[in-house]
Symmetry: C2
Subunit: 385 residues, 2 copies
């Protein structure tokens, strides 16, 4: 039996244990708050400390990219860490991410690094408005971002960012990446997986919808072959360059027929949760297969499937369960506003059936907690006719 | 969060925890050997004894029908046991089972109860040869059975059974059920689920193949509507009669267009394991939904799916994982000849694709361990053309 240690004991580790157990993988996770190794599905069951965890593991991986660098270094020294700390760090630092994209000629938004007022002014000079400024480190779900739409606001935005940089207590020096905002048609992502021997498999491109900067709905359905190929080429280039092992997600802006990389997540990804019900092999199992050096599983779409995030709510009406194919995945987390608490996967034998089931779901769920779902379902139904 | 206690901590409890965790159900199991309550996925994690387990649980259920009657009685007194001890016992005693079938007018093989030589002679007089004699208690997977094909062997068979009855140390008095052997065309089973309010949902009829008395392959594909209706009617009658709550499986002999009940399992069932990948909602989740009084999930077939049992082997070639849709479910059990160690689910977008994938699986697996798979796959492919 392969023993897997995951850095981070949140929902992604939990879903990896659920996917790995049938394969007889022994999945443990490091709770980074307590620094204890636990069973992801029974976090009160403490199995030891990090050192023992590293010693006992056959392979080590991470469920998030903001793992403390000293922990990553320790794991890497054991020779068991997949992907490499380098790849994990790239997901946690937009400057490294941008450098990787440039080195692979992967199309992405025009950008500029900002560390001080001189850089800031240069960024405004070189980029057209509107510009989005993002912290290089630890920004996620729309946090740590500033938008500059009019030159008149530049001074105020800079002041706010300067205060932020001054207050920043990160170990690695914090910084800002200024990006020319892309007038995109939609946001899509590609979840893919790469094995040690270089085998790569990618899932169908997923269409993503955000509410207040947080992913709310992901939709997986038959996709445009040209876009799929474009995304696959980017995945191959980036993952080869990193000698990547495991699942990696790439978020794109689609502008006409072109995909621009928005960001990279060196891990299983929220926009891939639909694969639990909608793909031959789910992303969690494929990540584990890759890091345990087992054959990758088919990434084929079984049938059109959507994922709806449950944000800030710890209950949904039981009636959800009566919708055919609806599957609820709770994360067993304490309720907090804006927190990802779980998700619901829904499938249909065709896109119209999926759209109708999503409409039924939207009708049942609390409108305040799922503000955009009803509109999404309605427009999706209209697209089918 | 609903707290579920399962009597028995084997693979069925394990798969119930896997299915229940995403629903935020807290699933614990009683290891009947140690009499301790454990986490099915981490059996070394001991959570207390039976009394504490009963106290902490919201609902209690069983993963096998041979639970000691004093344990069932204790659980029933708590008011939390689903299904009832009566229903569970019926699955563990062929005499009760036959009585239930008769009371519901459910077609089944002609039979006779045997406790002594007088009964034995009467059975031979009333039933035509060949006759199969089955122990009333604790027989499973073809164990505890005698076949009488020729009258000349009667004395020897009786002597063997008489020795068995004398040696029997069961708490409930052991006995024999003599059954006229049915020249059936095939064996099928129906897995269904019933909720407290009487709602019933049944999965598509599954075709079952046995090797040496143990289930080897189950096949779920679009079925004959008349047979499906017939089976559904029997399920409704039996489950209503028992005021059943949870998943129950009914094994049938198909003779022409008629289904004769072979036996009943008051629990999730091996012939329903294909539902993990092949149905909208798997049998494990539906059992938990029913006992927790949640809406039943759709039992619709997603696509043709087969389950192949792994018997007596604790490893299969990695190449199995490269077959699209192939999913391995290991039970984390110590290897023993004839023991169910895990199963593999395989699906296809149509029956021909499924048949071809099964052939590929048969080609990879060890011929000795899966003696009948190749022949099954070949004849299944032929049927499609």
């Amino acid at each position: 039996m392969n023993k897997v240690l995951i850095l981070g004991a949140g929902q992604l580790a939990r879903m990896m244990e659920l996917a790995g157990t049938p394969l007889n993988l022994d999945v443990k996770a490091l709770d980074v708050l307590s620094n204890k190794v636990v069973q992801p599905l029974a976090p009160e069951y403490i199995c030891g400390d990090l050192e023992t965890g590293i010693k006992n593991a056959d392979v080590i991986t991470a469920e998030f990219e903001h793992v403390a660098h000293n922990i990553l270094a320790k794991c890497e020294r054991s020779g068991k860490l997949y992907p490499t700390s380098n790849a994990i760090k790239i997901g946690g630092d937009r400057r490294l991410e941008k450098a990787l994209l440039e080195s692979c000629n992967a199309a992405n938004a025009k950008h500029y690094f900002v560390n001080d007022k001189v850089d800031f002014d240069k960024a405004i000079e070189h980029l057209s408005l509107p510009i989005i400024f993002k912290t290089a480190l630890e920004g996620y779900d729309g946090k740590g971002q500033w938008r500059l739409k009019s030159a008149a606001d530049a001074e105020a935005v800079w002041q706010d960012m300067a205060d932020f940089l001054t207050a920043s207590k990160t170990t690695v020096k914090q910084g800002i990446v200024a990006e020319q905002m892309v007038p995109f048609d939609r946001e899509v992502s590609l979840v893919g997986v790469r094995r040690v021997n270089g085998d790569v498999a990618v899932y169908p491109l997923t269409e993503n919808h955000h509410t207040d900067g947080i992913l709310s709905v992901s939709l997986a359905a038959p996709v445009n072959a040209q876009l799929q190929k474009q995304a696959g080429t980017v995945f191959k280039a980036l993952s080869d360059k990193l000698n990547y092992v495991g699942v990696m997600a790439i978020e794109f802006f689609q502008v006409g027929n072109q995909l621009l990389v928005n960001e990279i997540a060196p891990r299983v990804h929220n926009s891939g949760h639909w694969t639990q019900q909608g793909a031959d092999t789910c992303q969690f199992e494929n990540h584990l297969r890759a890091i345990c050096d087992l054959p990758l599983g088919s990434t084929a779409l079984i049938r059109p499937t959507a994922m709806v995030n449950i944000i800030g709510e710890d209950t949904v009406p039981d009636a959800v369960l009566a919708i055919p194919s609806a599957t609820i995945h709770w994360y067993n987390k304490v309720k907090r506003a804006g927190r990802k608490m779980g998700h619901i996967n829904v499938s249909g034998n065709n896109e119209l059936q999926l759209a109708e089931r999503l409409q039924r779901l939207a009708d049942i769920l609390c409108k305040q907690a799922f503000p955009d779902l009803s509109g999404f379902a309605k427009s999706y139904i209209e697209k089918q006719s």
